[in-house]
Symmetry: D2
Subunit: 144 residues, 4 copies
C-alpha cells in the first residue's frame, strides 16, 4: 500500500499535460491512503457571473484528473480512463479547492478511485469516482 | 416537444458564462429532439503531449455543459446539476468535436439528459448523462 | 453488426442462471441493433404495499442482466460486469415490463451497453448503462 | 448526526416490502455514521452454476435497497430513488454478505448515500452510490 512516486515526479508529469497544467492542479501530498491536491482559482472557472460560482464542468474535469493521478501514484504506469461519475453536493465560490483521491480497488486490469472536492472552508462541494483500465502489454506502456 | 429558445438567445446565455465561453461551445441547432453543438480545438485541451489526445476532463466538462444547455433549451429556466456520468469510448485528436444532447426524461422536478461527443469524422468519442434538478420557487429563477 | 446467437440459445443460457430465471427475463428478439426482453410480473417485485409499485432494486437487477445478455448476443463469450448505472424515471406498476438493450460501443477489451425499461403502455420507467470487460485469455472463456 | 429510528422500527418497515423481504436484508446496526446490514445467502442469488457466484443484479438490488434504508434511518420519511451506480470489484460466493451504508450528503431536497458490500471474510465485493429526492409536500409523505 506504499506509493513509489514522489510528489515532484508526479507533479512534473502532471505539468507536462497542457490541460492539467491549465487546471492548475498542485499535488500536496502522496500518502499511503490518499493523494491530496490543491487548486488555486482561475477567472475562467466561473459558471455564471450572476451566481459567481464554480462551473460544474470544472469540478468534473478536476475529479477526472485527480482520480487519474491518484491511481498513477500507485501503479506508476499509463492508465486509460473508462468512465467517471460526479455528484454535485453544494455550490462553490471560485476559490482555492482542496481535493482528496483514494484508490477504492486496484485489480489486475481495472481500478476504481474515489475523489472528494472540498472548499477552502472544508465543505464537501462534489465527489465522484473514476474507473480505469490498466494496460499491461508493452505497446501501450509509457516510454519511460 | 418544441423548444421555445432560439439558437442566438441560448448562445448568448452560454457566452455569458466564463467557463463555457472558454470551452468554446457553439450551438449549431436546436431541434425538437436534439440540441447540437460544435467545439473548435484549443491547445489547452490536450491530455499528454506524448499521445496528443484530448484530455478526458475536457470531455467530461463538455458533457456537463452540453447536457445543461440541452435542458435549458427545453425548460428555459435555471437548473441545478445533480450528477453527471461519462463513458470514454475512444481516444480523440485535439480537433473539432460535434456534440448532440437529447432530453431522456423531463419530470416536474428532475430531468435526465443524454450527450454524445463525436469526432469530426463522426466516430463516437465519449457519451454520458446528466441529471438535473429544476427549481420551481421564484427565488431561484433567473433574473430574465 | 450481426448477432450470431439465436433467441433459443441465449434464452437457454439465461435460464441456466438461477437469478436470471427467477427474474423471469424472456428474450423476445435479437435484432441487428437491439435485443428485446419481456418480464412478466412477480408478487415479490413489489416495493411497498402502500404504493404497490415495482421496487427500484428489481429495475437495477433487470438492467444489469439485460445489459449483459445484450452484449453476449453480440460477442458470444463470457463477460465480466465492471459497473452499472440506473436512472429511475417514473414509478411502475407490478406488471409486464418491456426491455430493450443496445450496444453503445464494443471495444477490444471493454464494452458499453444501454438498456431501457418500458411499461406495458410503453412509458419509460428506468434506463441505464452497463460497462463490461471482455476477457480474452482462454482460462476465463466459457466451457462451450 | 443522530438517527431517530430504532433497528426494530426500520426492520419492520423493510420487512413490509415484498422485494426487500425476499432479499432478506437484516439491519444489524444504526450508528451515527453508518447503517449496517447482513444478508444471508439464497440459492436464487446465484449468477451462473458454472462459476457458483453471486449475480451482479443481486448486488445492484442490495445497494439500491441499503442506500434507501440508510437514508430513511436519517430522515424518517418516504424518499424517491433518482439514480444508483454500482461498481463490481470482485466475484463473491453465494454466502452471507455484510453491507454498510453511509450518507455522503443530505441536502434539503436531494441526498447521496454510499454503500459497500463485503464478503463474510471482509473483502470488498461491490460498492456504489444512490441519489434520492426527498419530497416535502404532504401528499407524498407516508401515512404514519
Amino acid at each position: 500500500m506504499t506509493f513509489g512516486t514522489s510528489v515532484e515526479e508526479l507533479q512534473a508529469r502532471l505539468d507536462a499535460s497542457p490541460f492539467n497544467a491549465w487546471l492548475g492542479l498542485q499535488i500536496t501530498n502522496i500518502g499511503t491512503e490518499f493523494v491530496s491536491f490543491r487548486v488555486p482559482p482561475r477567472p475562467e472557472f466561473m459558471g455564471t457571473k450572476r451566481l459567481g460560482r464554480m462551473h460544474g464542468g470544472v469540478l468534473t474535469a478536476l475529479i477526472d484528473a485527480a482520480a487519474g493521478y491518484t491511481l498513477m501514484a500507485r501503479v506508476g504506469v499509463s492508465i486509460t480512463s473508462v468512465d467517471v461519475r460526479v455528484d454535485f453536493h453544494q455550490g462553490a465560490e471560485v476559490e482555492t479547492l482542496l481535493i482528496e483521491g483514494a484508490v477504492v480497488r486496484l485489480g489486475r486490469k481495472l481500478a476504481c478511485v474515489d475523489v472528494r472536492i472540498l472548499s477552502a472552508a472544508n465543505v464537501l462541494i462534489a465527489s465522484g469516482r473514476g474507473t480505469f483500465y490498466i494496460p499491461t502489454d508493452k505497446s501501450t506502456s509509457p516510454a519511460s
